[in-house]
């Protein structure tokens, strides 16, 4: 600890901190633009100049390390003169367009110019003009306003992992821009808007739609990936206008993925269902809530009576709230069925009944940064959990060695220590090899009988060197037909290494689903069987089976064939209009209270930030009324908090019962097929809300799926990149464009799931055929 003085105030600061950090800790604000606590120090704006005793010149507080006994003056004549001088220089070429600038009211330059700017401009020359750049559908530019602080550039390099922005030219011709005609395509690109201290980079979807001071700011939690990023949702007249990150160092830090930032556009989709609807004689009719609910209660009771309660099944979205999931479970079980599941894209349920607890990240999110060795198994991480990928990048910057086992050589924008890229069917065997190799290196017994390949050996060698290793199973591994085996092997490896082991969890409530018991507890059917063994009646909570299920084709067929399909959703889709019998408008996350349990087991409850649209009602309330109408016990909740407290036994910060262990042994088996499908769930197709966010749908990540193969596979099939091809799985087929993808192993075809263009295909894994169309 060092003793220093800032403006006469004595304080103790840690060695290695800078003057600006010390000052901010002491509550003394030092004006700054280029400095940002998460980015490297540039010291280029010079706004933070302060006086330091014995220094002849003012020093930049952001770049000056504290020394013992240092005396800093942030408001002395020297300091203020320097700061004012810098402010004048910043303003000379800055346009005077605050009245039409989207940043108005939340602009650091505007704020500081009030304190440090001069009243009359001494600069009477012509101002510089900088042409705008097209950064893509999410970020809008007014580059004349840019003050060259380079925060956005440093963000793309250091946090997003790829230098998409740079500063071209020099002197006052310097321009912050992407490479010629390139857009910014990072999945976390929107953060540059927050980082930009002026109005040079603003939100394209939000542009000109509201002034910052007209907006109400409410806290919420992101409903997409397992991270549970904290949000500030800004509304105007009960319409969500913008979403910003709420800083939480343990979760999203100060960042937000583009998905979490822009999916709000889907809330205002024209597909919003605003009134209950009932299909009568093949025709859809709007109905009053009580009529619709009566209809549902009758229908469910009828099916149960005629065909037995097991004829009723429920599919629940893993993005539903904890409370909705719990009440859906209670409802189904109240009727007498155990047929409910939220694990819609999972295909292997072999560990059901053998698990020691709910699968989870196996560590705190923030602990990822500390890992010194990482093995990532089966994950399109940047697209599954953009901010976790960012954390791995930070770990790597600090020297952590990252290893990968996957079916696609996805660029994580981080240097890898070792990797093994194999067809999906080979993943379990490969992981087994790593277990074997690591056991040998650690001189531990291992009963796996596999021959260890060179990549497996390299991965094991990297892992055993660590003292704080982590093994992470991605969504792809969880969706894998041998997901159970992969998990058991990962656990085994973790024991050998003394490492942490976790499952990333695809959705906002992937852990919450277990906690809420939205899955079979006894003899009920799991998600796969609910599709494979069609039910007479389905309750679909926020689910679009034709896009959300592991086998969308079978799922669609199942609901189409059912007598009664009850849809609870904020949206109506063309598909649902066909298969559903009743559609009940339930609130999206912004219009209801509820909770998500994140991948680290953290319970995060939130309130509605806007009034429900039209006659929309919160899902938990709808389910409560249904329970009552069905004369089931225990539906007398006053609030969603009541529901939550019942599930969690109070309001713990983290849920109990998290455990990745399973009483099972691994038996890696490879069913080698001719051509194997590699299916990813593209970032912006993953759930019903994001699918309806127009700006995200314009990004590169939302491109129509292609049939991607490496050069060898293409050649073997006699297909050229760009050719239209017919892709077939069983009876299902889709015509897609063939695309060269060097990141795939031989004999694999990458065809994205969760998209209308591929919904007619079968399961996400397994054999697939490709022929010229």
């Amino acid at each position: 600890m060092l003793e220093i003085e800032i403006d006469g105030k004595a304080l103790q600061v840690e060695e290695g901190s800078t003057v600006i950090e010390a000052a901010h800790k002491a509550g003394t604000y030092i004006p700054h633009f280029c400095y940002h606590k998460k980015l490297s120090i540039a010291a280029n704006c010079r706004m933070c100049l302060v006086q330091v005793e014995k220094a002849p010149k003012p020093l930049p507080a952001c770049a000056t390390p504290v020394t013992n006994g240092m005396k800093v003056f942030t408001h002395s004549e020297m300091a203020v003169k320097a700061q004012k001088g810098v402010m004048e220089f910043l303003l000379i070429n800055h346009p005077l367009d605050c009245p039409i600038c989207d940043q108005g009211g939340e602009c650091q330059l505007q704020d500081l110019s009030v304190g440090y700017g001069a009243s009359g401009a001494r600069f009477q020359e012509e101002k510089r003009v900088v042409l705008n750049k097209n950064l893509g559908p999410l970020v809008s530019t007014d580059m004349t306003r840019c003050i060259n602080c380079t925060r956005c550039i440093r963000f793309t390099q250091e946090i997003a992992g790829y230098m998409e922005m740079g500063q071209a030219f020099r002197g006052d011709r310097a321009e912050v821009m992407p490479f010629v005609e390139k857009t910014v395509d990072s999945e976390i690109s929107g953060n540059i808007i927050d980082l930009c201290p002026v109005g040079a980079l603003t939100s394209k979807p939000f542009r000109f739609s509201a002034r910052s001071w007209e907006l109400s700011r409410r806290k919420s939690v992101a409903p997409h990936d397992g991270l549970g990023s904290n949000l500030i949702v800004q509304t105007k007249l009960d319409r969500v206008m913008r979403v910003l990150p709420l800083e939480n160092e343990d979760i999203n830090e100060c960042w937000l993925s583009d998905k979490d930032r822009y999916s709000y556009e889907g809330l205002n989709s024209t597909e919003r269902l605003t009134k209950p609807m009932v299909k009568q004689g093949g025709k859809w009719q709007e109905a009053e809530w009580n009529v619709a609910l009566d209809y549902v209660a009758h229908a469910l009771r009828d099916v149960a009576k005629t065909h037995g309660a097991a004829a009723v099944g429920a599919l629940v979205s893993p993005h539903a709230t904890l409370e909705e999931m719990a009440l859906a479970g209670k409802l189904v079980r109240g009727i007498g069925s155990d047929n409910i599941d939220f694990r819609l894209r999972q295909s292997d349920f072999s560990l059901d009944g053998k698990r020691s607890g709910a699968p989870w990240l196996g560590m705190k999110i923030a602990e990822i940064n500390q890992l010194d060795r990482v093995l990532l198994v089966g994950s399109f991480l940047r697209k599954e959990q953009p901010l976790l990928a960012q954390r791995l990048r930070q770990a790597a910057r600090r020297g952590s060695k990252i290893n990968v086992i996957h079916a696609a050589d996805e660029d994580l924008l981080v240097k890898l220590a070792a990797k093994a890229i194999v067809p999906p069917s080979q993943l379990p065997a490969l992981l087994a090899q790593v277990v074997k190799a690591a056991s040998e290196l650690k001189q531990q017994a291992c009963d796996l009988t596999v021959a260890v390949s060179a990549p497996a050996k390299a991965i094991a060698a990297s892992l055993v060197e660590g003292s704080n290793a982590g093994i992470l199973l991605g969504n792809f591994a969880e969706q894998h037909p041998q997901a159970g085996t992969l998990q058991v092997l990962a656990q085994q490896l973790a024991r050998v290494l003394g490492a942490k082991c976790g499952v990333l969890g695809a959705a906002a409530n992937s852990v919450g689903g277990y906690v809420a018991k939205a899955l079979p507890q006894a003899d009920g059917l799991n998600a796969a069987r609910l599709v494979a063994e069609p039910r007479r009646a389905y309750v679909l909570l926020n689910v679009e089976p034709e896009l959300d299920c592991a086998d969308p084709r079978a799922a669609l067929a199942a609901v189409k064939a059912a007598d009664t399909v009850v849809v609870l959703s904020p949206f109506k889709s063309a598909a649902a209009l066909e298969y559903a019998d009743v559609m009940l408008p339930v609130s999206p996350f912004t219009e209801t209270s509820g909770s998500f349990v994140s991948t680290e087991g953290r319970v995060q409850s939130f309130q509605a930030v806007a009034k429900p649209l039209g006659e929309t009602r919160p899902g938990w309330k709808v389910l409560r009324v249904l329970g009552t109408l069905l004369e089931l016990d225990g539906f007398g909740y006053e609030s969603s908090e009541d529901v939550r407290n019942e599930i969690l036994g109070g309001t713990p910060e983290f849920v109990a019962g998290l455990d990745n262990g399973a009483a099972a042994t691994a038996s890696p088996a490879a069913a080698a097929g001719a051509l194997e499908r590699v299916a990813d769930v593209p970032l912006y197709f993953a759930d019903a809300l994001v699918r309806r966010a127009p700006s995200l749908q314009k990004t590169k990540d939302a491109a129509v799926p292609a049939a991607r193969m490496n050069a060898v596979t293409l050649a073997k099939l006699g297909i050229a990149a760009g050719d239209p091809v017919r892709v077939k799985q069983g009876d299902g087929a889709a015509v897609l464009a063939a695309q060269l993808d060097a990141a795939l192993p031989d004999g694999c075809v990458r065809v994205a799931a969760a998209h209308a263009a591929t919904a007619n295909l079968g399961a996400m894994f397994g054999q697939i055929t490709v022929e010229r169309a």
């Binding site: 120090i41 540039a42 010291a43 280029n44 704006c45 010079r46 706004m47 100049l49 002849p56 010149k57 003012p58 930049p60 770049a63 390390p65 003169k81 320097a82 001088g85 810098v86 004048e88 220089f89 910043l90 000379i92 070429n93 001494r122 600069f123 020359e125 510089r128 003050i147 060259n148 380079t150 500063q167 030219f169 020099r170 002197g171 006052d172 011709r173 310097a174």
Partner: protein, 447 residues
């Protein structure tokens, strides 16, 4: 070939122009003897080498005049990987000495670098060569090939067990890369934007490793220090100003060129060596140390001797030893306008005061030169200068301001005249007469 002359030639002794740059010629004039003495003859330790350089009080020839031996002693001993860098990015207007050094005596720079590499424990060195003199980059590569073939570079140099290799890296048109940390960025394959210091290159330099950077002339003087002995080298110059120095004399003299004189030589003597004032015109002022040093008016400079202290006393800097001589045909407003344009053009663009300020300064001076000056402009220039100098990452900010301060200190009335009369004190025709090219052009037109 520019004119090269010397009083008591040491550094330039034996130069034979383009014919004498190669290894054979260099060895014939005693080249690589110092290296042999250090590595295989007297077997000096690195510490002994540094001590000798300290004794010589060889001060850096790149501009700041920092004692070279002291700089070398800052390199951390234990670091396994260290680098050495030579700064031949000579771009300070008025300076052209390093060019001649590379043209006529590249091996002296190579020998100096090997000795320095040995002293600081570097694994490799790079010479960063100004892009505009690309032919000399090629020549330097040829010289390196000769040195490598002769066993002066590479593994186990002269059988001493010392390993060191040297490479050439070229600039491509950016004055700022003469600033040492910008130069390092540039070698790293980035744009040349100076780094914030501390940390200094001696602790975090090239590729993040401890690095010593010296000017070309500094390295070229090192073999000399060992050939003559540190004490003798020091005595060549003045106390605290060891050795002789190359002065690049340009502008209105009859014989522009490089002149090697002992530090402390009177300016008048230097002017005389340079053939005196062109066409016998009257001296108006001298920029004594490259374009960023403040101008010294005629009467003052005639009393100066050419060394760090005397020039500093006159309110300027010896800098890189670039002496720009201006006669009475010069309009100081126009001269300053051109220099201000230079700094505006060359600002790297990262610091707000420099990026925005250099342009503003230029625009004001440009207005004055073009008859649109305002009375308050001169004070504004000084005040803006005060808001730039000392507020930036590198010294380019200061460099842009100093010429203005110098001009306004000594030639303010000429600026005031410009503002008031919207034209120059020195008539255009007189200004043109100062240019030899113009005179010849007119002469050509006449016949």
């Amino acid at each position: 070939m520019a004119i090269i002359d010397a009083i008591n030639a040491t550094l330039t002794a034996g130069w034979k122009g383009d014919a004498g740059w190669n290894l054979k010629e260099y060895e014939a004039r005693g080249g690589y003897q110092s290296l042999k003495r250090i590595l295989t003859g007297d077997k000096l330790t690195p510490d002994q080498v540094i001590a000798e350089v300290k004794l010589s009080v060889l001060r850096g020839r790149g501009g700041a005049g920092f004692p070279t031996g002291l700089k070398w002693s800052f390199m951390p001993k234990a670091a396994p990987v260290k680098y050495l860098v030579c700064n031949t990015d000579e771009g300070e207007p008025g300076t052209f000495k390093d060019r001649d050094l590379l043209a006529y005596d590249p091996h002296s720079v190579i020998e100096g670098m090997i000795i320095a590499g040995y002293a600081v424990g570097a694994v490799a060195g790079y010479n960063y060569i100004h892009g505009e003199i690309f032919e000399l980059y090629e020549r330097f590569e040829a010289a390196l090939a000769e040195a490598r073939a002769a066993g002066y570079l590479g593994q186990n140099i002269l059988g001493s067990g010392f390993n060191f290799d040297l490479f050439a890296h070229h600039g491509w048109g950016a004055y700022i890369c003469g600033e040492e940390s910008a130069l390092l960025e540039s070698i790293e394959g980035k744009k040349g934007q100076p780094r914030y210091k501390p940390p200094f290159p001696a602790s975090v330099g090239l590729y993040g490793k401890p690095t010593t950077i010296n000017n070309t002339e500094t390295f070229a003087a090192v073999p000399l220090v060992f050939r003559m002995g540190g004490q003798a080298y020091l005595e060549l110059g003045k106390p605290n100003n060891g050795g002789s120095k190359l002065f690049s004399v340009s502008g209105h003299v009859n014989k522009p060129g490089n002149y090697e004189v002992p530090l402390g030589t009177p300016f008048a003597k230097l002017l005389e060596m340079a053939g005196g004032m062109r066409n016998g015109r009257k001296l108006k002022g001298v920029i004594p140390g490259g374009s960023s040093s403040p101008v010294i008016p005629a009467d003052m400079i005639m009393d100066c001797t050419m060394d760090y202290d005397s020039i500093a006393k006159a309110g300027s800097m010896l800098g890189s030893g670039a002496v720009i001589v201006m006669d009475e045909t010069v309009c100081m407003v126009q001269a300053l306008e051109r220099l201000s344009w230079f700094y505006y053009e060359e600002s790297c663009g990262q610091c707000t005061p420099c990026r925005e300020g250099t342009g503003w300064l230029y625009k004001i001076i440009h207005r004055i030169e073009h008859g649109e000056g305002r009375p308050e402009d001169l004070d504004l220039l000084l005040e803006l200068g005060g808001n730039i100098a000392g507020r930036t990452i590198c010294a380019l900010g200061d460099a842009a301001v100093m010429p203005i301060q110098g001009m306004l200190k000594h030639f303010r009335s000429e600026f005031e005249y410009h503002i008031e009369h919207k034209k120059c004190l020195v008539p255009r025709e007189v200004q043109k007469a100062g240019s030899t090219f113009h005179t010849r052009m007119m002469a050509g037109a006449a016949c």
